[in-house]
C-alpha cells in the first residue's frame, strides 16, 4: 500500500475513533512527560557543574591546584609559563563569598582572573572585561544575581564578605544569557585578579593556574608541573572538578536515576494502558484488512503508521508537558553540595534527555499498537476478532475461538509455576544484592520491579480465587460478576494493577530510604553541633560546613569577654581534594566534648578514639575513605594536606552527611597540616544558665557589623543544616508524589475507560434485573480489587526496596542512615492511590451504571 493510501486510510478511520485516540495520546504524553522531566532533573546538576567548569577553563587541559583556600604564590605563574611545551597559562583565584546589596544577599563564588584567561576561550570570560578599569576594581555579575541583590546599575556598589573581610565593589557589567549562555543562573562574581585578591585579602595569591599545553606536549608539561608542585600542590586535568562533583553527587544522581527508571516504567504503563483502549478497534481493522486480501506486511504497515503518528503527537505533547513539569516541580537543588561546589540551579535540557523520552514514548506506541501481532501473522484472516462461530453438535464440541482461548489459558496455567520461579529468583537476586553487593542497588531495584511484574498476575489470580470463594458464602451477585469480569479482561487488569504497583513500589522504596536518610542526617547535624554553644564563622551560605578560614586577629579576646561566654575554642575545618573525593575535614578544638560524634562511629572504640584524637597524630576517617586507601584501625597514612602529614587511623565513622567522605582530627593537627593557625570558626561555650539566643545577640553586637563574621547558636546551625538537607532531598519527595499522582490518574483513567467500554455488558446485566446501584458497586469492587492487589504488592516489595536502598546508602556512601521499615509510608501510598483512583473512577463508574438498557439490544 502506498504511503498516500496509508495516510488516507488513517484519516478516514480517525473520524470514528477520535476520542479513543485522544485518550491514547494523553496517556502517551503523560508517560513521556514523566520520563522527560526526571531525565532533566537527573542531568541538570552535573551538567550545571560541568558547564561552569568548561566555561572557565576553556581550552586548558591541565591545572596546578592549591590545596587550601589561601592558595599559592602568584609568582608560580611565571615559572609555569617558562615550562617548555606550555602554550598558555592563566591564573585564577576562587573564594567563597557572600554578596550583599540593597535587595538581599547571596552566597557566591568570587572568581578573579586576568586577560590571559580570555585567551583560553572559556564561555564565561570570553566577553568579560578582566583588566582593571583605569586602576579601579569593579565586578561583573550575571543578570539574575544582580537583580536578586539589587545591584543593577553601572557603578552601584555591592558588599562582598570574603573570609571574614568586608569590602565593597562597584558593578561594571551585568552578564546576559546571550553572553554566557546557561551559566546565567550560576552564582558567580567575576573581578580582575588584582581586585579579587584585594577583596579576599589574599594579595599575590591564586587558587590555581590553568595550563594549555602545545599539541602533543601534555605528558611533558604534566611531568614538569608535578616537579614544580613538589607534592604540596595538586596537578590534575581540568575536568577534575567535574570528577569531584560527580563523586559528591553520586548518591543524588543515583536516586534520580532510580526515579527516572521508575518514572519511565510508570509512564510506559500509563501509555500502554491508554493504547490498550484502541486495541479492540485495531483488531477489527486487522480482520477487515486481512479479509480484503491484505498481506500481513501491509497490515503491519498500517499499524506502524498508527504508532508513528500517535507516538509523534504523544511525544511532542509529552515533551512540552515534561518541560513544564521540570520547571515547576523537578528543579534541581544542590543542597549540601553548594557548600563545596559552585553549582547553579540551571535547568539543562540535553539532547540525550529528549532522545530517551521520545524513544520510550515511541516504544510504548509501537508495542501497544502491534500487540495483536500474532493475530496479524495468523493464517486465519479473522483471527484478530475471533468471532464466535457455531462449532460442535448438541453435545458441544469446542468452537475455534473457544479452542484458541482454552489453549491460551492452558499456556497461562502452565506459565504460572515458571512465573513464580522467576519471580522468586528475582527477589532472591535482590536480596543477594542487598547483602553482598550493596553498590549494585539499582540492579537490585530493577530485579525487584521484575519480580513485581512477574508475580503480580499470580497475586491477582490468587485474590480473585479468594474473592470468589468468599463470595460463595454471601448472597449477592456483585462479587461474582466483578471476579468474572476481571478474569475475562485479565491482560488489561494486570496492566492497570501493574501501573499502581510500580508507582507505589517506587514511592515506598525511595520515600522510605529518604526518610531514613533524613533521620540519620539530622542525628549527624545534632552530633556535629553538640560540642559548642555558639558558632562564629565567616558570613554567607558557605558557613554550613565551616571550612572558610579567616584571620584570627583580636577577635578571640573580644569574644571571651562577652558576658555569658565561658570559653572560646578554635575550630578548624576545610575541604581537601583527596583522590576523586572532596573530603570534609573536621577539626574541633582538643577539649571539644565529644570530639568524635558518638552516633557516627561505625568501627572502633569510642572512648579510645576520643583519647587518641585529643593526644594528636590520630584521625577518624569515614568508611569508604578508609576502604579506598585500604586502612584499618591503628594503621598509618599520609593526609595529602598542603603539608602532607602522617596520621594513624583512630576509628571509622559514617560520612557525617557529606557524601564524598569525612576526616576528623583535632584542630591543632589541622593547623600543622595546613601550615596555618587561621580558624574557620570559633566555638563559644556558654556559662551554665545562659540563654543561647541572648548570648548570640551579645556576641553579634560585640563583633559589630563590619566583622564579616556571623553568629549562630548550635541549634540554629543544626536547623540550617537540616533545612538544607531537606531541601536537597525534597525533590525526591516531589517526584515520588508526582509518580503517585500519575499512577492515580493512569489507573483511574484506564479503569474508567475499561468500564466505559463495557457499558453494553452492563446494559445486558440490567436486563437480568441488576439495578444501577448494583452495577456501580460491581464496577467499584472490580477497580478496588485491582488497585488493592497492585498497590499492596507494590508496597510489600517497596519495603524490601527500601531496605536495599538503606543498605546501599549506609554501606556504599556511608550515610548515617537510621534504618527502619516504612510501614506508614507503604500504607499511606497504598491508601492514597487506591482511594484517589476509586474516587476519580466513581464518576464514570456511576455514569456507566446508568447506561440505558436499550443498549443491550443494539448490537
Amino acid at each position: 500500500m502506498s504511503f498516500a493510501n496509508l495516510l488516507h486510510l488513517y484519516r478516514v478511520r480517525l473520524r470514528s475513533r477520535l476520542l479513543q485516540e485522544c485518550f491514547a495520546v494523553v496517556g502517551l504524553a503523560a508517560g513521556v512527560a514523566l520520563l522527560f522531566a526526571s531525565q532533566i532533573a537527573a542531568n541538570s546538576l552535573s551538567s550545571s557543574a560541568a558547564q561552569l567548569s568548561s566555561g572557565i577553563v576553556g581550552s586548558a587541559k591541565l591545572q596546578l591546584l592549591a590545596r587550601d583556600a589561601r592558595g599559592v604564590d602568584q609568582r608560580l605563574l611565571g615559572r609555569v609559563r617558562q615550562i617548555p611545551g606550555v602554550r598558555l597559562a592563566a591564573p585564577l583565584l576562587e573564594a567563597n563569598a557572600n554578596a550583599l546589596g540593597p535587595r538581599g544577599s547571596r552566597s557566591v563564588e568570587l572568581i578573579g582572573a586576568d586577560e590571559s584567561l580570555k585567551s583560553l576561550g572559556g564561555a564565561l570570560v570570553r566577553k568579560t572585561k578582566l583588566a582593571p578599569f583605569g586602576g579601579i576594581g569593579a565586578i561583573v555579575i550575571p543578570h539574575p544575581l544582580a537583580r536578586r541583590i539589587g545591584v543593577t546599575k553601572f557603578g552601584a556598589e555591592a558588599t562582598l564578605q570574603v573570609g571574614g573581610h568586608v569590602g565593597t565593589a562597584p558593578l561594571y557589567q551585568q552578564l546576559s544569557a546571550r553572553e554566557i549562555g546557561p551559566l546565567i543562573d550560576t552564582p558567580i562574581v567575576v573581578a580582575p585578579l588584582s581586585f579579587a585578591q584585594e577583596l579576599a585579602h589574599l594579595p599575590g595569591r591564586v587558587s590555581r593556574v590553568l595550563v594549555a599545553p602545545r599539541p602533543g606536549r601534555e605528558a611533558q608539561v604534566r611531568a614538569a608541573l608535578l616537579r614544580l608542585a613538589r607534592g604540596r600542590l595538586n596537578v590534575t586535568g581540568t575536568d577534575y572538578d567535574q570528577q569531584l562533583f560527580a563523586k559528591a553527587a553520586a548518591a543524588s544522581n543515583q536516586s534520580t536515576t532510580l526515579f527516572a527508571v521508575i518514572s519511565a516504567l510508570v509512564g510506559f504503563l500509563f501509555a500502554f494502558n491508554a493504547m490498550l483502549l484502541t486495541v479492540g478497534q485495531r483488531r477489527r481493522l486487522i480482520a477487515d484488512l486481512r479479509r480484503d486480501g491484505y498481506m500481513p506486511r501491509a497490515v503491519i504497515g498500517v499499524l506502524l503508521l498508527d504508532a508513528l503518528l500517535l507516538g509523534l503527537v504523544g511525544c511532542l505533547l509529552g515533551l512540552a508537558l515534561g518541560d513544564e513539569l521540570s520547571l515547576q516541580l523537578f528543579r534541581a537543588n544542590p543542597g549540601f553540595l553548594s557548600s563545596a561546589f559552585t553549582v547553579g540551579n540551571a535547568r539543562v535540557v540535553g539532547a540525550q534527555s529528549i532522545a530517551i523520552a521520545v524513544a520510550g514514548g515511541m516504544l510504548a506506541a509501537i508495542v501497544a499498537v502491534l500487540s495483536p501481532l500474532r493475530d496479524i501473522l495468523s493464517r486465519d484472516p479473522l483471527a484478530a476478532v475471533a468471532p464466535p462461530r457455531e462449532g460442535g453438535g448438541a453435545t458441544g464440541s469446542r468452537d475455534a475461538s473457544g479452542e484458541r482461548r482454552w489453549s491460551r489459558r492452558a499456556v497461562r496455567l502452565r506459565g504460572a509455576p515458571l512465573r513464580a520461579t522467576l519471580g522468586a529468583l528475582a527477589i532472591a537476586a535482590a536480596l543477594v544484592t542487598m547483602l553482598a553487593f550493596p553498590a549494585a542497588a539499582i540492579a537490585g531495584i530493577v530485579a525487584l520491579v521484575l519480580a513485581l511484574l512477574l508475580l503480580l498476575p499470580l497475586a491477582l489470580d490468587a485474590v480473585l480465587s479468594l474473592t470468589a470463594r468468599t463470595a460463595r458464602r454471601l448472597t449477592g451477585a456483585v462479587p461474582h460478576v466483578a471476579v468474572g469480569e476481571l478474569r475475562a479482561g485479565r491482560s488489561r487488569a494486570v496492566a492497570i494493577a501493574a501501573t499502581g504497583a510500580v508507582a507505589v513500589f517506587g514511592s515506598v522504596a525511595i520515600q522510605g530510604a529518604h526518610r531514613d536518610l533524613q533521620h540519620g542526617l539530622e542525628n549527624a547535624a545534632t552530633d556535629m553541633n553538640a560540642f559548642t554553644g555558639l558558632w562564629v564563622s565567616p558570613a554567607g551560605g558557605f558557613d554550613l560546613l565551616m571550612t572558610q578560614p579567616f584571620p584570627q586577629g583580636a577577635t578571640l579576646q573580644a569574644l571571651s569577654r562577652v558576658p555569658g561566654v565561658r570559653s572560646v575554642g578554635v575550630y578548624r575545618g576545610g575541604l581537601l581534594d583527596w583522590g576523586q573525593r572532596r573530603v570534609w575535614v573536621i577539626a574541633p578544638p582538643r577539649d571539644a566534648q565529644p570530639i568524635v560524634p558518638p552516633t557516627q562511629l561505625v568501627e572502633g572504640d569510642l572512648a579510645l578514639a576520643q583519647r587518641r584524637l585529643r593526644a594528636g597524630g590520630w584521625a577518624v576517617l569515614s568508611k569508604a575513605l578508609a576502604a579506598e586507601h585500604h586502612l584499618h584501625i591503628g594503621e598509618a597514612f599520609t593526609l595529602p594536606a598542603p603539608r602532607p602529614t602522617a596520621f594513624r587511623l583512630a576509628a571509622i565513622s559514617t560520612n557525617i552527611g557529606w557524601a564524598p567522605g569525612a576526616a576528623i582530627l583535632r584542630a591543632e593537627d589541622f593547623a600543622r597540616a595546613w601550615e596555618s593557625p587561621q580558624p574557620s570558626a570559633y566555638n563559644l561555650h556558654l556559662a551554665p544558665g545562659t540563654n543561647p539566643e541572648q548570648a548570640r545577640r551579645a556576641v553579634a553586637s560585640a563583633l559589630g557589623p563590619a566583622s564579616g563574621l556571623a553568629v549562630q547558636t548550635a541549634r540554629q546551625h543544626a536547623a540550617k543544616q537540616d533545612k538544607l538537607t531537606r531541601e536537597g532531598l525534597a525533590r525526591l519527595s516531589q517526584i515520588a508524589t508526582l509518580i503517585l499522582a500519575a499512577a492515580v490518574l493512569a489507573t483511574a483513567a484506564a479503569t474508567g475507560a475499561m468500564v466505559w467500554q463495557r457499558r453494553p455488558r452492563l446494559a445486558k446485566l440490567k436486563l437480568e434485573g441488576f439495578a444501577p446501584a448494583e452495577l456501580w458497586r460491581t464496577v467499584l469492587l472490580e477497580s478496588g480489587l485491582l488497585l488493592l492487589v497492585g498497590c499492596a504488592a507494590g508496597a510489600l516489595l517497596g519495603l524490601l526496596g527500601q531496605q536495599l536502598l538503606d543498605r546501599a546508602l549506609a554501606e556504599v556512601i556511608n550515610y548515617p542512615v537510621v534504618r527502619s521499615l516504612a510501614l506508614p509510608t507503604a500504607l499511606g501510598a497504598l491508601a492514597l492511590v487506591t482511594a484517589a483512583a476509586l474516587a476519580v473512577l466513581s464518576v464514570p463508574g456511576y455514569l456507566a451504571a446508568r447506561v440505558p438498557a436499550a443498549l443491550a439490544l443494539q448490537d
Binding site: G392, T395, V481
Partner: protein, 235 residues
C-alpha cells in the same frame, strides 16, 4: 399473564416529526403460551420488548403482568420485576468468559440466593437442558448451542412467569435453532411460562402457539414468506 392495553410509544425527532414506534398495541399472552412476533427491522419489536421489560416507559397504555402495571414502576421495583418475574433471552450470549457454565447460569439467582443453594437449584435445570456433563466447563469452551442453553437456564433460574426471547436463534444454524425453539416450547408448557418470542426466523412460527406480525408499530396477521420445514424433521 401478560396483557398489553393500547400500548403506544412515540418519539419526537429533532425536525418535529413523530415516529410511532409502537402504535396502539393490545394483546394478551396467557401462562404456558408461546407467542411468536414477527416483523421487519424498525417495526417496533425491540421497543415493545423494552416496554414489557419495564426498561422503557410507554407514551400511553398499560403493560400488565399478573394484573400489575409494570410500565410505571420505580427503578428499583423495575429491577425487582426483571429479577423475579421476567426472563430475557437474546441472540448474543452474555456469558462471562473464564467462568463455568453453571456459574454463568446462576448469576441472576445469586442476587437473592446463596451460591451453594443456587447451584443446587440450577444444576437440574442445566441437566434438563442437556448440559449435565458440562456444568464446570468454562463458557468459552462451549458450543454456540450450549451457550444459548446456558442463557436459557439463567433466564429460567429465578422461575419467572414471563420469558422474553429476542432473536434467540439469530446466531445458530438451522438444526441448533430448531432444538432451541423446541426447548422453549417444552419449557413454556412444562413450567407454565408465558413466552414472547421476537424473531425473523420463519422456523419460530412452527413452534409457537400463536403467531403475530408487527408492522409500523401495529399488530397484524402473520403472512409467512415461505413455508417452514415440517416439524418432524426438526426434532
Amino acid at each position: 399473564m401478560l396483557e398489553l392495553r393500547e400500548l403506544v410509544k412515540h418519539y419526537e425527532l429533532l425536525g418535529g416529526e413523530t415516529v410511532r414506534a409502537v402504535d396502539g398495541v393490545s394483546l394478551s399472552v396467557p401462562a404456558g403460551e408461546m407467542l411468536a412476533l414477527y416483523g421487519p427491522s424498525g417495526s417496533g419489536k425491540t421497543t415493545l420488548l423494552l416496554m414489557i421489560a419495564a426498561l422503557l416507559q410507554p407514551t400511553s397504555g398499560q403493560v400488565l403482568v399478573d394484573n400489575r402495571d409494570v410500565s410505571r414502576l420505580s427503578e428499583r421495583e423495575a429491577s425487582d420485576y426483571r429479577l423475579s418475574q421476567l426472563g430475557f433471552i437474546r441472540q448474543n450470549f452474555d456469558l462471562l468468559p473464564g467462568v463455568s457454565a453453571i456459574d454463568n447460569a446462576v448469576l441472576k439467582l445469586l442476587k437473592t440466593t446463596p451460591w451453594r443453594e443456587a447451584h443446587r437449584r440450577v444444576a437440574p435445570l442445566l441437566e434438563r437442558l442437556g448440559l449435565g456433563g458440562r456444568l464446570q466447563q468454562r463458557s468459552e469452551t462451549l458450543s454456540m448451542g450450549e451457550r444459548q442453553r446456558v442463557m436459557i437456564a439463567r433466564a429460567l433460574s429465578t422461575e419467572p412467569r414471563l420469558l422474553l426471547a429476542d432473536e434467540p436463534t439469530g446466531s445458530l444454524d438451522s438444526q441448533r435453532s430448531q432444538e432451541v425453539l423446541a426447548l422453549l416450547r417444552e419449557l413454556s408448557r412444562e413450567r407454565d411460562v408465558a413466552v414472547v418470542l421476537v424473531s425473523h426466523d420463519p422456523l419460530a412460527a412452527r413452534y409457537a402457539d400463536r403467531v403475530l406480525a408487527l408492522r409500523d408499530g401495529r399488530l397484524g396477521e402473520y403472512q409467512p414468506a415461505e413455508a417452514p420445514p415440517p416439524l418432524e424433521s426438526a426434532r
